[in-house]
């Protein structure tokens, strides 16, 4: 970060001169350069496309679920062999009507459950990431910029949070908050609790990164210049430091989402996520493993497992690509 990442900067000219033949030479902003670099990174683009498809899929399933096209909780006992309590047919009873097969014992459509489950997985991951980022950036900025006892206090707080047994706390909290609280009930409450638990305890990771960056940025010439021109703390934070932190925050956010998807899956796996019959990927995985149904038919771990794998992979590829594009020297 040699200079402020100012969108109107003309510093990028030397690179664009080379392609100037036959076309009017135009200046490119750092943002445009980053976008060009990103576009050239095929893995990152693949990740981005998958992410877009996932989001569109989740939104579509929201509509399809509401209109009754997807029926994630409808039982199909006729598809179950009563002798064994298992679906008739191979791979969970795959058929045209149920392309991914059906649940053992009750015959719920797995495709519908995966799609509806994606709403919750993505919503919780995005919500908790947003929460972590907002808290982490705010406290990290203040700590790095203010220094002194404020920095000591916030750093100490971060260490406390980092040392916190998050999983145990999550299990305890989800057990306590069961029915209705804060004017919420049902799924809305459970989603809110999960977002809070995952988001509120993950902020120190991003907080430390932002604090470190701020510590180095605040001694830079452009900050000195702003200060000598009479800018106050709030202005410097917002207009000088924050824009320069945009790149690491964006990258870290993209990388935090898959972590949170996995965390939500882990919580559901432990049975402290959403209440049944609401589908979630971690819950489906947990059912398959605890029930032992995976050993009879790997279908039941593969379907949610691959869904989680693809999502986490896509966000990771996109995040890595963004980091390379925004800050090529960080490779």
């Amino acid at each position: 970060m040699a200079a402020p990442l100012d969108m109107s900067s003309t510093e990028a000219q030397p690179e664009s001169v080379v392609t100037g033949m036959g076309k009017a030479i135009e200046g490119r902003s750092l943002g445009q350069i980053a976008w060009l670099r990103l576009k050239r990174d095929r893995w990152a683009m693949a990740g981005a496309i998958v992410v877009v498809v996932l989001i569109l899929g989740a939104l579509a399933s929201l509509v399809l679920d509401a209109t009754g096209v997807l029926q994630p909780n409808t039982y199909h006992p006729d598809l179950i062999d009563a002798t064994y309590g298992r679906p008739t047919g191979a791979f969970g009873g795959i058929s045209w009507a149920h392309p991914l097969g059906v649940d053992p014992s009750n015959g719920r459509d797995l495709l519908a459950r995966i799609l509806v489950g994606s709403q919750f997985s993505l919503l919780i991951a995005a919500g908790s990431t947003l929460l972590s980022v907002v808290i982490g950036v705010a406290l990290g900025l203040v700590a790095g910029f203010a220094g002194g006892w404020v920095d000591t206090l916030i750093s100490w707080l971060m260490n406390v949070f980092l040392a916190f047994p998050l999983l145990l706390f999550a299990i305890a909290l989800s057990g306590v908050v069961q029915q209705s609280a804060f004017g919420l009930s049902g799924n809305a409450l459970h989603v809110a609790v999960l977002i809070f638990v995952i988001g509120f305890f993950n902020w120190p990771y991003i907080g430390r990164i932002v604090r470190g960056q701020t510590l180095s940025l605040r001694e830079r010439e452009f900050v000195e210049a702003a200060r000598s021109l009479g800018a106050r703390g709030g202005y410097i934070l917002r207009r000088e430091l924050l824009p320069n932190l945009f790149a690491p925050i964006l990258v870290y956010t993209t990388l935090l989402i898959p972590t949170n998807i996995l965390f939500e899956a882990a919580l559901s796996f432990l049975g402290v996520g959403l209440h049944p019959p609401t589908p979630s990927w971690g819950g489906m995985l947990s059912d398959a493993v605890n029930n032992g149904s995976y050993s009879a038919d790997p279908e039941y771990v593969l379907v949610p497992g691959i869904a989680i794998f693809i999502t986490v992979m896509a966000f990771n590829l996109l995040g890595d690509g963004l980091r390379d594009a925004l800050d090529p020297r960080a490779r």
């Binding site: 309590g85 009750n106 029915q179 049975g271 049944p276 019959p277 032992g292």
Partner: protein, 582 residues
């Protein structure tokens, strides 16, 4: 009357008890049978007198203790008879006759005094323990004292003797109370006689002395909690000195001082028995099917993967038995929360019982649809079906709606269902119930709790259930002895309701039921008692306080090279005292 294989059930569990019992069938006396699917339920498979060989038993975790005075696992009560003989035991035959009591160390069943308060047993003379000492009734008295009155040292077993024996002095157990007389309500007038004095009449006392807690323990050899590593043996086998390892298992070898005439019901066919602990479930099943393991000692049956494999393979299927475990899977309906009997009846009619069956693994490996509280393999079972559970297993919505109207809530109502969140089968049955009840507009939310505290602080706490509007919860129950009183008393007696660790989760406090239980405890005639159990069962179903799901079954697998294999109804698994190897 806590569930004896509490921990065993935490594993993916299906039960086992006798299919034949429903029809009253089963060849009595143990006629010889050849290997066929479920043949072990009704006949002795591979009957043979051949001796020699080594039996290899495996299990997925460890026993609570090998100490006969410190165990509460069903399979241990079955297995420990090989090295620790109780006063009485169960008739070693397949079918309903296997529920009858026969003498083990004793010479006959107990003699009860006219007032029902004194039970006297005589043991055979000339029997010797594995260390050479003669077996005396003083050792049996000591064993009962240590197993029941010293919970700080030996915490695992039940305390029935403490509950039923007269104990005005509040005896503190042999480790604290060193007085030579010990517990005053057990007398040993001579070396072959033992007399128990009860605080109140208890007609089922003979069942209590089948407990391994009555196997003799010489006081001089007792090492308290460490006694399990080398208990002094009274049965045909003994623990091979130095072979016990709490993580890997134990080896039994022949007890040189045992004679067949000492305990005529228990056999000594194999030379050695290896019990291996901590084998993963799927690994154990593969070793069973491959022939390198002979039995799953736990007796809870094959896991999901192996079940599908075995049921689809004719050669393997004939070595399997779908046996009733004596367990009932059920939903207690909390009368505090759903106080109207017609509302509860609506639930009984609406529930789709086939979904419960599917959740537990189907008709073969999961269990039979239940219509009563007592399972068929419990003495006192009477067949009836108040709510079309077997005739219309998918539920009768029309009748359910009628009941709702009678209850004054034609538009439905709502409550919560509690489940043990780490038991997917229970979560699935709760979802199945939720699905069924939705059809009559009864709305439910499923709340998940950890298994560890489920029976104490959650489902076992009436206040908690009421506060959280939990009208139903998943549960399973089996008796400590296969007889109506052992099964019913804790889950039906209104006076047994406790503020924590409550088992009467229906909160049923019906004066008639309470009175019938007292009558049964005091009735010397077994026929009268069995009639009473059927009556209590009927009242509970009339009150619709329990929604029975399944009479649980386990799919047991026997190595084809085993001899004399059959399912004993008393424990709902193979009788371990008769098995040999070809």
């Amino acid at each position: 009357m806590k569930r004896r294989n509490l921990i065993g059930m935490a594993l993916a569990m299906t039960g086992l008890s006798l299919v034949s019992a429903c029809g009253g069938g089963g060849t009595s006396g143990g006629s010889a049978g050849s290997a066929a699917y479920s043949a072990g339920n009704t006949s002795v498979v591979n009957a043979s007198e051949a001796t020699g060989g080594t039996l290899n038993y495996g299990m997925t975790n460890t026993p609570d203790s090998l100490d006969p005075g410190n165990t509460y696992y069903a399979f241990m009560w079955n297995f420990s008879r090989l090295y620790a003989s109780p006063l009485l035991t169960y008739n070693p035959v397949p079918g309903a006759d296997g529920l009858k009591l026969v003498p083990d160390l004793a010479t006959g069943l107990g003699q009860v005094s006219d007032n029902g308060l004194t039970w006297t047993y005589h043991i055979k003379s000339g029997m010797t323990l594995s260390d050479g000492e003669p077996i005396t009734t003083a050792q049996i008295k000591y064993a009962v004292e240590r197993g029941n009155f010293a919970k700080d040292v030996l915490p695992n077993g039940p305390s029935y003797f403490q509950q039923y024996l007269a104990d005005p002095a509040k005896y503190q157990g042999p480790y604290k109370d060193k007085s030579p007389g010990g517990l005053s309500s057990i007398e040993t007038p001579d070396d072959t006689t033992i007399v128990f004095h009860l605080a109140q009449p208890f007609a089922d006392f003979d069942y209590l002395v089948t407990s391994p807690q009555t196997a003799p323990v010489p006081q001089s050899k007792d090492t308290g909690a460490n006694y399990q590593s080398e208990p002094v043996a009274s049965g045909p086998y003994m623990i091979k000195p130095g072979s016990f390892n709490p993580n890997t298992g134990v080896t039994l070898v022949k007890n040189p001082n045992w004679k067949q005439s000492d305990t005529p019901t228990v056999k000594q066919y194999a030379d050695q028995i290896n019990l291996t602990y901590n084998i993963s479930g799927d690994d154990l099943d593969n070793r069973l099917l491959g022939g390198s393991m002979d039995l799953d000692a736990y007796g809870t049956g094959l896991q999901t993967a192996a079940r599908a494999k075995v049921l689809n393979n004719a050669t393997q299927k004939k070595n399997a038995d779908a046996a009733l475990s004596g367990f009932l899977w059920y939903f207690p309906i909390n009368t505090q929360v759903i106080d109207n009997v017609d509302c509860r009846k609506a639930i009984e009619y609406a529930a789709d019982k086939t979904l419960f069956q599917n959740a537990y693994g189907g008709a073969e490996a999961g269990g039979d649809i239940a219509s009563t509280v007592l399972p068929p393999s419990v003495v006192g079972y009477q067949k009836f079906d108040d709510y079309e559970a077997t005739t219309q297993p998918t539920g009768d919505l029309a009748k359910a709606k009628d009941e709702l109207t009678k209850c004054g809530k034609p538009d439905g109502f709502s409550f919560n269902i509690a489940v043990r969140g780490d038991r997917p089968k229970e979560v699935q049955t709760a979802q199945a119930l939720q699905q069924s009840l939705q059809k009559i507009n009864v709305k439910t939310d499923i709340l998940q709790y950890p298994t560890g505290d489920y029976g104490t602080s959650f489902a076992g706490s009436p206040q908690f259930m009421k506060d959280h509007n939990i009208g139903m919860n998943t549960y399973g129950w089996a008796a400590d002895w296969p007889e109506g009183f052992g099964f019913l008393s804790q889950i039906s007696d209104g006076r047994a309701i406790r503020s924590a660790g409550n088992s009467n989760m229906e909160m049923l406090n019906d004066p008639q039921v309470n009175q019938l239980l007292d009558q049964a405890a005091a009735a010397p005639d077994a026929g009268t008692r069995n009639g009473i159990y059927g009556q209590i069962d009927k009242i509970m179903m009339d009150q619709a306080v329990i929604l029975p799901e399944l009479y649980a079954k386990s799919l047991l697998y026997r190595n084809p090279s085993l001899t004399n294999v059959f399912v004993t109804e008393a424990y709902g698994m193979y009788d371990y005292t008769q098995i040999g190897k070809k």
